[in-house]
Symmetry: D2
């Protein structure tokens, strides 16, 4: 049994909603099939503060499995992120008006950290359950990557965290209505994809040796 | 009150399912809010025969409103088609192995017919209900356009048909799983979009004067 | 030998240049291999007036071959248009501030006209010469389609016009710089594609029976 | 003055050509404006061996500036890569038939290395010269990333290398002809982009503080 922390984000970039929090909040107080308890929280879309809130939550909940979710507007599939990089480079200001350019997230951190979620098994199980999914090789350089990196940096020196990682999700249909040509995913499918991901994370030992690579 | 005929297609191009029929078949025997009766049918994905089946169905059901639906794999939104053109040009063979190139559908038909559905009102109402939708300026040159053209050609000389048109829909998630990067739409959203479309078709008089144009 | 009229457009939609006129203007006073004389002109990006200017030019030059070119920002390939439809539906105002919605271009015109250029042969020859090209099933509903329709409508009743049609071309690289993620085509490639198109138009008899269709 | 090593790749994934080598080979024996000598080489598209060949070339040429180029089929712009990650995950076999899945490139290497090219200045100067370009946050997980990582790993412990990095380039038009809908870039534009990149690398001190970030 695990103690699981799931996070979503506040809306950003002029959106009125964020699919990650819309989906994650519905898991409050729930448990996985093996009895793992689920905690949920919304992170602010702010450099620095998002990570402070996240670390506090990890310490309060004593979570050993942490999965952060964020919106990837324009992507058509569930994107299970592979790697977080040690850089903030913001194309737009965050919700506090901060716009760092080429700043390291941690002065003494590693250049990058790899997800410790079973990312191939998650993608495989999502597809088996008819949900479009892929491994993603970049979480960008905005607050999503910032949180993903902060999480993995913390996990490296706090060994009570067994599994941690980041998942990007598409727009909700209600958001795509305002972005001509943008793909979307229904809330039902998002909830189902989180449920499946949690089951994989509590049951899967070593990750599956399936390709999830990209040519470029 | 209207008598409505809804059609979907059989699977084609190596797909195991066709979202249009998966969605349409669930409306069998149902009625709209104003009591309009709904008939449904699956059309074969075959040049020529699809139109024979369709015309027979129209005559049997005495439908005055006919909406044909088809799969547009790769499109992210509900596409309400504006115009059918008098040409068959098949990039792949149809389900009977026929692959016409630059053949007119009707030797004496008009070059094109415009949908008589309230296409702007449909798109407007879908978006109001949080469903991504757009007017589309082309239904392609395969069996979908063939059926759309055949329908409108028949409607022009059989005035008991008050409204007729064609709507393209995205892949289901279970199909997109096999097409990396392809957008999809859940069955629930598809069903909701058809329900809204039917209500608009039975209630809307003249179409709304909203832009649904494309620059190129 | 033919007399050829080539047109491009003025810039629109906040662009500083229009690749169609940048390319077309370089053919002023030139001739094809068989001695056909080439005339060029820039059309205003204005509903109504563009067609007046075009018809005047056709009458002045006594052209029997007319090819209009326009910008399709976001398309990656040369798009040889198949069909013009009898509708103006403007997503943005034209350069005179006019924004028609669902207005027929000609009250008594056909619903659509097909290009009388050898569109399949043009695409085939462009590809043979290493230039990405495709048949396109829609020229949109803005001024490009308006001119294409106006041209074909005129050609139908003025039989001195033997071949007429419309070709959409991508952004120039200098334009794509301002549109993240947009494809572009170099001026050299554009010039080469027009040269090849003109040779095909003067040499090709009946069009080739090659597929140029679209599934949706 | 610098000694510059430029590399391209052999064709892969059923292509007959590789735009990176087609472009790079034309710089053999040339020099930049400040007299920096340019060496060029073609790398095999093979895990392991590509890096052996590259390291040998660096040692032979005593290059202090190394820029490796590779094909990114489907990307529309020059992609100046930001980061190489320590993983091989091949979606297809390389040219020697090898297909590693989730193998670290260096058992004791860092998780990732950042390019030491002035990536923002390169993108800025390319755009100033009308060439579409962007910073890219992922070089994939195939041989391109493998070489990029191998290069940066070597550079970290061999301080005679002052600047090193990787640039992805689009298909040539002659390749895009076989990939419907794929963007391309002309050889002239590619050559111009390399020329500009080399001038920036020899003249630019510290990189420019311009955003080149991605939201996801």
């Amino acid at each position: 049994m695990a103690t699981i922390l799931l996070t979503g984000f506040a809306p950003f970039n002029q959106e009125k909603t964020n699919p990650s929090w819309q989906a994650v909040k519905q898991f409050e107080g729930k448990a996985t099939q093996d009895g793992s308890q689920i905690h949920v929280a919304e992170l602010p879309c702010e450099f620095g503060r998002a990570n402070e809130v996240l670390i506090n939550l990890i310490q309060q909940t004593k979570a050993d499995t942490v999965i952060c979710l964020g919106q990837a507007g324009g992507r058509p599939e569930i994107s299970v992120e592979r790697v977080a990089i040690n850089i903030d480079d913001a194309r737009i200001p965050d919700n506090a008006g901060i716009q760092p350019i080429d700043q390291p997230i941690q002065a003494v951190g590693q250049n990058a950290y790899f997800s410790s979620l079973p990312i191939k098994a998650i993608v495989h199980n999502l597809r088996q359950n008819n949900i479009p999914a892929q491994v993603s090789q970049t979480a960008g350089t905005f607050v999503c990557n910032h949180v993903f990196y902060g999480l993995m940096h913390y996990a490296e020196t706090h060994h009570h965290i067994k599994r941690a990682g980041f998942i990007h999700i598409p727009y909700l249909p209600e958001q795509a209505v305002n972005h001509a040509g943008a793909p979307s995913m229904s809330l039902e499918t998002l909830l189902n994809s989180i449920k499946i991901t949690l089951e994989v994370c509590t049951k899967q030992g070593q990750d599956l040796a399936l390709t999830g690579g990209s040519l470029d």
